[in-house]
Symmetry: C2
Subunit: 406 residues, 2 copies
């Protein structure tokens, strides 16, 4: 009997991302290169892994005392505690007052999925979300799929080639009352004390709920504490917030995606209520999150020697990033490429804007087989001794061929 398919009305889903990578993979040019990997790359063009990770992996595999039982629904307790200490510092007010907690989440989007589900249920009157453009995909889509109205913003001023704190202030001031504001790495957005005060006053007045996004603590400045200092402002002003704390990237265990949905509440009682609701959601979402990544990270964070070694490796990575940026700038200067390239070294972290316009980016992709996202934000760890000359010469060509719009 011929049957009609149950799936007859299901169309092929539009590919949302990865099309640049796909085009790159299909390119047969031997000189092709991809400068938009999510992960940090080592000097040898391999995904960066902290030296301490391999050792810890082996130790765990050889440990006869470990059992492989289910973890609690909330995840690995010691992992959550160690991660919160890393984020806030051991003696932070929220830790001492027992009003910060977390749920162990899965993958890169788990914390956003969980947080968004909670906000969908418990903040029904505020279904507008603001998110920085570069994180619209994948995190913004999580909110969008759930029916939130998602708006994008950007700190980066492509004309002035710099990050502009006023953009952030203006976006907040124009945002609707009670919206959710996803705030990512503010490292390059050097707000003055009075700008911070103005930002937080606006957010308080409009009851904007902050949802922080910490994808790689320590990779901006090389200093773990400095990178998350801005959270202290919010804590001290009595904000309640969520934070997606991702930990896989700073250890180099990309295939064990693991993180925390961090909750800061005004007091312990409120915190426990929120965590209990999150537990119910977690149970439905995955029930028993995989432990491997959490175990590696916890082993490192809870051992001072290993933690020291990890921090050292992280610092080395950040120094490499800064050095690469310096070299790119210097080479462009030697080539006499028009324009100031200070904006390259003014930005921190692996992902920074080259400061090219879309035609120049297109030139690099089409003519030079250098794959770069449309906004020109690249991963500087993809540049190494083998490809830096080709890349800087190509940028020079692109700039000379297509004059900037200013």
């Amino acid at each position: 009997m011929p049957t009609l398919s149950v799936f007859l009305d299901v169309p092929l889903a539009q590919k949302l991302e990865g099309s640049l990578l796909k085009t790159y993979k299909q390119d047969n040019c031997p000189n092709k290169m991809f400068l938009a990997y999510k992960v940090c790359m080592s000097n040898k063009g391999q995904p960066w892994v902290s030296s301490v990770v391999r050792k810890t992996r082996l130790q765990i595999a050889q440990d006869p005392s470990l059992n492989y039982e289910y973890m609690p629904v909330m995840g690995m307790k010691s992992f959550i505690q160690a991660s919160l200490k890393l984020l806030f510092g051991r003696h932070n007010q929220v830790i001492v007052e027992n009003r910060v907690g977390g749920v162990h989440t899965v993958g890169d989007n788990g914390a956003f999925q969980l947080g968004a589900q909670f906000l969908k249920i418990w903040r029904q009157d505020s279904q507008a979300v603001y998110i920085i453009s570069s994180r619209k995909e994948p995190h913004g889509l999580v909110f969008q799929d759930m029916g939130f109205k998602v708006s994008e913003y950007s700190f980066w001023d492509p004309k002035k080639l710099r990050v502009d704190p006023n953009v952030l202030l203006n976006v907040v001031e124009q945002a609707p009352h009670g919206c959710i504001f996803v705030i990512g790495n503010t490292g390059d957005c050097k707000l003055t004390q009075s700008q911070w005060a103005r930002l937080m006053a606006s957010m308080k007045r409009k009851q904007i709920f902050p949802f922080f996004d910490i994808p790689y603590q320590g990779l901006s400045t090389g200093d773990l504490e400095e990178d998350t200092n801005f959270l202290q402002y919010f804590v001290s002003q009595g904000f309640e917030f969520f934070c997606s704390q991702s930990l896989s990237k700073t250890f180099g265990i990309y295939d064990e995606g693991v993180g925390i949905l961090v909750v800061v509440a005004l007091n312990n009682q409120l915190l426990l209520c929120v965590l209990s609701q999150l537990m119910t959601l977690t149970r439905a979402l995955w029930l028993n999150s995989p432990s491997r990544g959490a175990r590696i990270i916890t082993s490192i964070l809870c051992n001072p020697a290993l933690q020291g070694e990890w921090k050292h490796s992280l610092k080395g990575l950040v120094e490499d990033i800064m050095l690469t940026k310096e070299k790119v700038k210097e080479k462009l200067r030697l080539l006499g490429t028009p324009g100031s390239w200070d904006h390259i070294t003014d930005q921190s972290g692996p992902h920074s804007y080259l400061g090219l316009n879309s035609e120049q980016v297109e030139y690099l992709v089409k003519e030079k087989h250098i794959y770069i996202p449309k906004d020109g934000q690249i991963n500087f760890t993809c540049i190494n001794a083998c490809n830096i000359d080709y890349i800087t010469q190509s940028i020079n060509e692109a700039v000379l061929s297509i004059k900037g719009s200013q």
Copy 2:
């Protein structure tokens, strides 16, 4: 400035499960025991781990050629392929015709979460779900939380102390048109050929969508193929279906919860559409599922010697379960406990009904500190040489104190 909490209206969530385990943990009696663990226990009262797993873990940790890059959004390809071959057999029609596929899922509930999200969007006219009572929690709750109307059913006839295929047939015949039917382990539900034909005819006529639940292939009969033979009936009758294939339990890697949402469609084109939609959902749900569990399982399944060792260990576990059941029955017979206890050995797999009524169960919990769920379904791997005498004597006491209702 004192602030009102954002979380003011969030109540403490009701604890949904684990209350039996919690009571057990709070019990100070030295003789207390818990017979409802989800995982299989070894003779020594530890979670069972296949002997081949430890070796494989170590091999993976020592492998210098492995990188730790992000996996594709759909998960580890080799893992999905190996798992599908395990489920259907290498030469199955759906594999040959390229119309079966899968998505690598996370934890115990990941496949249900993903499948339910898909069905919520793409089968809006069929939002009723039938699920076997013992799986209502946790899987049924996933559907319920998403707004499906969830109904429970049970094969087990507590009067006749046996599994009754007619119950399944009746439930299907009374179920609404187009509903979703979650079908778990049918090992004990010995349908005749004509009963299978009747069941599938009903399901076809009513356009009922089967969502199979394979939590531990091989643990019913000790034979991997025999355990999933019933899927062939559905394939041969041209059904399209989903299947949650969980793999952690049969390898003993409970803390690396991993599985597959299996999709069978009428042809490859339909399959690709469904998989593309699932990919979009997966990206929002977790994005980059952890690889560890999948890597261990794939290493074992793709190596004939390791696979043989794993199958052998699984068979050993099933033999232990059968032996324990025989011993329990024999001891109850020697004690002269009223009633036939054949139903214990008639059931297969680790989780089977003791055949006690709720007062008898309560007697065991309250008087004997033996923690058993209300329906009397226990995990027989929790019984070992150290506790079998206490357990059987207590069952005897419970039965003598409280006569059964028949």
